[in-house]
């Protein structure tokens, strides 16, 4: 871009989109700004949907963020269907065409499903719609959360498919609602994200809460409408610590080549998200099926186009990484917005990952790279007491990861623990 943009379009009304809008205004952009959001709400706290919002009975809309004050024209409940990068135009589901000088693509991702989509599903892949007669739910949007809460209130039998933090949080919420819960996964839950030490601890908490944990190499789903059948192949139960091959947590014996079928009233699939790039297929932009839009260090994917949030991947190590987390969306959006105005003068993305989870009545916060390997340095407390401050890696080199378990620990203080204390001010911050 050789001149200051006058019209900027933001496709995506979640936290990345609204952060981009606010950053543009804060950086002095006073031209025309339009936000297009497929969901019929303003941005809300998506992380809360599987945590507090699943547990508390308050109005779900209280998780919608208040007016961000960016003075943009907001088109909510409207998606983008096509992009013409040469004409610099975005075509919307309402047939409107938006011209832009600068474009932010921040329209997120959608939950992967195992079963076939129900008859009510919509072309727009960023707003999930569950057919009323489907026994498979996913959790991504406010509507999903409302539907899930309504379904678990009847205390159905539940199978959660997926051993990442979302699956575990959902399982935790279902147990709290009084459901009998089975969680099926291909390996130790959360081991890929958190590493074995923390994964073992949380798996134990889940088992103590009464979750039946099953591991299988293949998992398939038959959605029968009011119920479902989950088929597990090569069941090798015993994902909990201390259980050897051949036993499940509930004591049922399985040989390692067995197939097991589970008949259940409700299946909740939490097997990951896919970047919502379907609308860009004819645009000519390079799209990766798992990474989405690969940006440069300033969020650029094309002249005049930047991307941020769950739809995008940023440079990391020798390639790119997509990190669909709250703070990542915010930091990427800030950089991307500045890049539309400043181009090469914009700052690079420098992200220190922050991940948190709440499950089984315990809150875990991690500042720094994950997963962590091996045993931690214990800075405070004790994991067996469910209150601890742990550190992995090289604090001297400033590359450590600090994890708080069951402690109220604000990010600035947790971040200070990732560095070796070398000055009095750091010591104060770390205490």
């Amino acid at each position: 871009m050789t001149s200051t943009p006058k019209q900027i379009v933001i496709v995506g009304g979640g936290i990345a989109g609204v952060t981009a809008a606010s950053t543009l205004r804060d950086s002095g952009f006073d031209g025309e700004l339009t936000i297009v959001g497929a969901e019929p709400h303003r941005a809300y706290s998506r992380p809360a949907l599987s945590k507090a919002a699943l547990l508390d009975l308050a109005d779900l809309n209280s998780h919608v963020l208040p007016d961000p004050g960016h003075g943009a024209r907001e088109l909510l409940g409207i998606g983008a269907v096509q992009l013409d990068v040469d004409a610099r135009e975005v075509v919307l589901t309402n047939n409107e065409t938006l011209k832009y000088d600068g474009l932010v693509i921040a329209n997120g991702s959608h939950a992967r499903r195992l079963g076939a989509r129900g008859p009510g599903s919509h072309l727009s892949d960023s707003a999930s719609v569950h057919a009323a007669d489907s026994a498979e739910l996913t959790l991504r949007t406010l509507e999903d959360a409302a539907q899930l809460r309504q379904r678990i209130a009847a205390q159905p039998s539940v199978v959660v498919i997926g051993g990442g933090p979302l699956g575990m949080e959902i399982a935790s919420g279902c147990v709290a609602a009084g459901c009998a819960v089975t969680l099926v996964t291909r390996r130790l839950p959360q081991s890929a994200l958190l590493g074995a030490h923390l994964a073992d601890y949380l798996t134990q908490r889940a088992a103590e809460a009464g979750v039946r944990l099953l591991r299988a190499t293949e998992i398939s789903l038959l959605d029968l409408g009011t119920s479902a059948r989950v088929t597990l192949s090569n069941v090798n139960a015993g994902t909990g610590p201390g259980t050897g091959a051949g036993t499940t947590i509930d004591g049922t014996r399985h040989s390692s080549d067995s197939t097991l079928t589970l008949d259940t009233e409700l299946v909740i699939t939490a097997i990951g998200d896919e970047p919502s790039t379907g609308w860009l297929e004819s645009s000519g932009l390079a799209i990766d099926p798992t990474l989405g839009l690969r940006t440069d260090r300033k969020g650029r994917i094309h002249p005049n186009i930047v991307a941020a949030g769950d739809v995008a991947a940023f440079p990391h190590a020798d390639g790119h990484r997509r990190l669909p987390l709250w703070t990542s969306a915010i930091e990427q959006a800030k950089v991307a917005a500045q890049t539309l105005l400043l181009e090469d003068e914009a700052p690079d993305l420098e992200l220190q990952p922050y991940f948190w989870t709440e499950q089984w009545g315990i809150s875990i916060k991690a500042c720094g790279e994950l997963p962590v390997a091996g045993s931690p340095e214990v800075l405070q407390g004790d994991l067996s007491e469910h209150s601890a401050l742990l550190r992995w890696g090289d604090a001297e080199a400033g590359t450590a990861t600090a994890v708080s378990v069951g402690m109220r620990m604000p990010i600035p203080r947790l971040r200070a623990h990732t560095r070796a204390v070398t000055s009095p001010s750091l010591a104060a911050a770390a205490s």
């Binding site: 809360a48 208040p66 604000p410 990010i411």
Partner: protein, 64 residues
């Protein structure tokens, strides 16, 4: 404008403190303390950033 906290909702992440350290901070127990409640023109952007960044939507800005 006033910064208003939904106290039961606050979980002590401290993203707000990172966004607006001059307006609020978390103490040794991880509890949020508002250092500036009445937000004037010069603090508005920082306050809005703090409200927006909260991952549990525990902060609001209200007209007085």
């Amino acid at each position: 404008m006033k910064l208003v906290v939904d106290w039961p909702r606050c979980e002590g992440h401290g993203l707000c403190e990172e966004a607006a350290p001059q307006l609020l901070h978390l103490d040794d127990e991880g509890e949020l303390l508002l250092d500036v409640e009445d937000i004037g023109e010069s603090d508005l952007k920082a306050a809005q950033a703090a409200v927006r960044v909260c991952p549990v939507a525990a902060l609001r800005l209200e007209q007085q």
